[in-house]
């Protein structure tokens, strides 16, 4: 599904390298987790994959189903099936959540050359999906993320994911700032989207989210590199011993 080879990234503004050669191969239908200390480059990886400005790719490649995504505009990547659940979802005052969702769904359809979703159909689908995530009609009407609690913002990210039905989902610290109940709700939302084909890259600092979203593969990232990959037991190792053992081992 997603092939990342020797990805090297530095900041556009200053000569600072953040990703120093990342290799990742995500097979369709699998859940991969990336764990790592703060500042290791996890968010940068997710931003570069989804096309945020301010970064310069100095080497390497990233292909989604064989298509070179690094040469695409962010909206083209989204239409191609990539989705990023933001670590810090952005507030957009004055734009209703519903308007935003519908614009996003129909923009992607248009970019893919598919017919737009009718207002009626959209309403039906969004209501059903919102209900599963305990998002009420009020929250759908409110401006995008404005006045939402941390948990509401993250649930709203998962709702967008459910509506857009991407092939490749990247979740950046979706668990941060959530209490246990909210985290379970988010995990349920994610698990409901697992269908054997959809692929997930779950970025997290702590192991606890992975109790609810079971990964197939766990990667440890440090200082802009994947330093170790393994099964779910790797996450437990981090949980018990922290990152220090692993970091020493790699140095």
């Amino acid at each position: 599904m997603l092939e990342i080879k020797n990805l090297q990234v530095q900041l556009e503004e200053e000569d600072k390298q953040i990703l120093k050669g990342v290799d990742l191969s995500l097979e369709a239908g699998k859940v991969h987790a990336i764990m790592g200390p703060n500042g290791s480059g996890k968010s940068t990886l997710s931003y570069v994959l989804s096309g945020k400005g301010g970064y310069e790719v100095t080497a390497g490649s990233a292909h989604l189903e064989g298509n070179d995504i690094l040469s695409m505009e962010p909206e083209e990547r989204a239409a191609a099936g990539l989705f990023l659940a933001f670590q810090y979802p952005v507030e957009i005052p004055g734009v209703g959540n519903m308007t935003f969702l519908r614009t996003a769904v129909n923009s992607q359809r248009k970019l893919r050359g598919e017919p737009e979703m009718s207002a009626g159909e959209f309403l039906k689908v969004v209501r059903a999906k919102a209900k599963d995530l305990k998002i009420d009609a009020e929250m759908l009407k409110r401006p995008v993320n404005v006045g939402f609690s941390g948990g509401e913002k993250k649930r709203n990210e998962i709702l967008q994911m459910a509506m857009l039905e991407p092939k490749m989902c990247i979740l950046d610290e979706t668990d941060s700032g959530l209490d246990v109940d909210a985290m379970k709700l988010v995990a349920q939302g994610v698990n409901a989207l697992r269908d054997g084909k959809r692929t997930f890259l779950v970025i997290t600092h702590y192991q606890r989210l992975l109790d609810h979203i079971k990964p197939d593969v766990v990667h440890i990232m440090a200082a802009g590199r994947i330093i170790k990959s393994g099964g779910p037991e790797l996450a437990l190792q981090v949980e018990n011993n922290g990152y220090s053992d692993l970091l020493e081992g790699s140095a």
Binding site: E73, E75, G94, S107
Partner: protein
């Protein structure tokens, strides 16, 4: 209408017997003194401080240089409102004056014959009061010369909005003067759409009695227009006055709003959302005088500019001695979509009372890259994402509109206008 020198202007106004004499004795006197006022004060010039950011040339020069576009691409409120008044080529189509419950609507042209005393108490009087401390000679000239306009007198609650729609062609030079009176306990909403002329000088005088409520909505979406508008309003106690203007067309527009709060516990709001592109200059000039206790005034102006468009804001809150518990809020913000556009702002506070809360802020910024990326990452193309952020930016101004049906219509109109460009 307007002439290169104030002397010539006055001469023309005085000698134009058709205009001076037709609406009767009271009008003749008012018009003559307005013409003298304009002459004594002189017409605005480029060096005037009050015209520092906007050149008065187009408004004072003799000839009209632009052709009016016959009809705008996108229309708003068409066939939606029960009460509609039509102006064609700067002349009121008197047969269109609607019958509205709790409200009398007449033509300025007929004012003398109708013996409408309430009109003579307002016509030119509020304009005169608004000549100090800043002279507004073009408004005085309007009082002297205008023969066309509507006289709206709300005597009770007027349930549906009244719309004035104007269409024109060619180089029409429009001088329009409306007079509105809202009685105690009465309320009325007036909507102005369309274009009176290729060049317009529009004055609206509004008297809101104690416990009266007046709402004004204006859509300026035509092209090739030079418009100068003045609203002069005097607001009594326990009443409201709200004016909202959406501007998305025209080459040169200056909207002045001069409000005087003379009764306690009242609330006023003047707001605007402006979408500027290319050869576009838009000026909001507001002067609010608090001369009563416990009144709230709000000024909320948002401008989104690109391709060299220019936005201007001059807003003043004057709190007179004794106007305690005044709550004055003023915000003027612009979103510049490129480096060619500019925003010039002059916010002013002048306060002579001690127990007041006044705040003002003026900002000028570029698009929020983080928000733009967020929208694009959801598959929304850049241009559409910029449109959404434009609507987001304007939301605070549109929220000043009280009637949710009208604000929804304005929002749709803005969305359509953005999509069409």
């Amino acid at each position: 209408m307007v002439l290169p020198s104030s002397e010539a202007a006055t001469r023309s106004a005085m000698h134009d017997d058709g205009l001076i004499s037709s609406p009767g004795a009271w009008a003749k006197e008012v018009r003559q003194s307005a013409a003298e006022r304009a002459q004594n004060q002189g017409l605005p010039e480029r060096r005037d401080e009050y015209w520092k950011y906007t050149r008065p040339d187009f408004f004072v020069q003799e000839s009209v240089t632009l052709e009016a576009q016959v009809s705008p691409k996108i229309q708003i409120f068409n066939n939606q409102l029960k009460a509609e008044i039509l102006f064609e080529n700067a002349v009121l189509a008197a047969e269109t004056l609607p019958k509205v419950a709790n409200c009398s609507i007449e033509s300025l042209d007929d004012a003398a014959d109708l013996d409408l005393h309430w009109v003579s108490d307002i016509y030119g009087k509020l304009e005169l009061a608004g000549q100090y401390p800043v002279r507004r000679s073009l408004a005085a000239l309007n009082t002297a010369k205008a023969s066309q306009g509507v006289l709206v007198h709300a005597t009770g609650q007027v349930s549906d909005p009244i719309r004035i729609h104007a269409v024109c062609a060619g180089r029409t030079d429009a001088i329009i003067h409306h007079v509105v009176k809202v009685d105690a306990g009465a309320s009325v909403t007036l909507i102005e759409t369309g274009q009176y002329g290729a060049r317009c000088n529009v004055v609206m005088e509004v008297e809101v009695a104690d416990t009266g409520h007046f709402h004004h909505i204006r859509v300026q979406d035509d092209h090739e227009i030079h418009a100068l508008t003045h609203i002069f309003a005097r607001i009594g106690a326990d009443s409201t006055f709200k004016s909202f203007t959406m501007t998305s067309g025209g080459k040169m527009t200056r909207n002045e709003c001069i409000l005087e709060l003379i009764g306690d516990n009242s609330a006023v709001s003047v707001a605007g959302a402006c979408l500027g592109d290319n050869d576009f200059h838009h000026d909001d000039t507001v002067f609010i005088t608090h001369d009563a206790v416990n009144c709230e005034s709000r000024q909320v102006f948002k401008k989104v500019l690109r391709n060299g468009a220019v936005g201007v804001f001059q807003g003043k809150i004057l709190v007179k001695a004794g106007a305690q518990k005044t709550d004055g809020y003023q915000i003027s913000q612009s979103l510049l979509l490129d480096e060619d556009s500019q925003f010039l702002a002059k916010p002013e506070l002048e306060i002579y009372a001690d127990d007041v809360a006044c705040s003002h802020g003026s900002t000028c910024g570029a698009i929020d890259e983080q928000a733009l990326f967020y929208l694009r990452s959801r598959g929304i193309p850049e241009a559409k994402a910029v449109d959404l952020l434009t609507l987001s930016f304007m939301a605070q101004a549109i929220e000043e509109i009280e009637d949710s049906k009208i604000s929804a219509a304005i929002l749709n109109h803005l969305t359509d206008t953005l999509e069409a460009r």
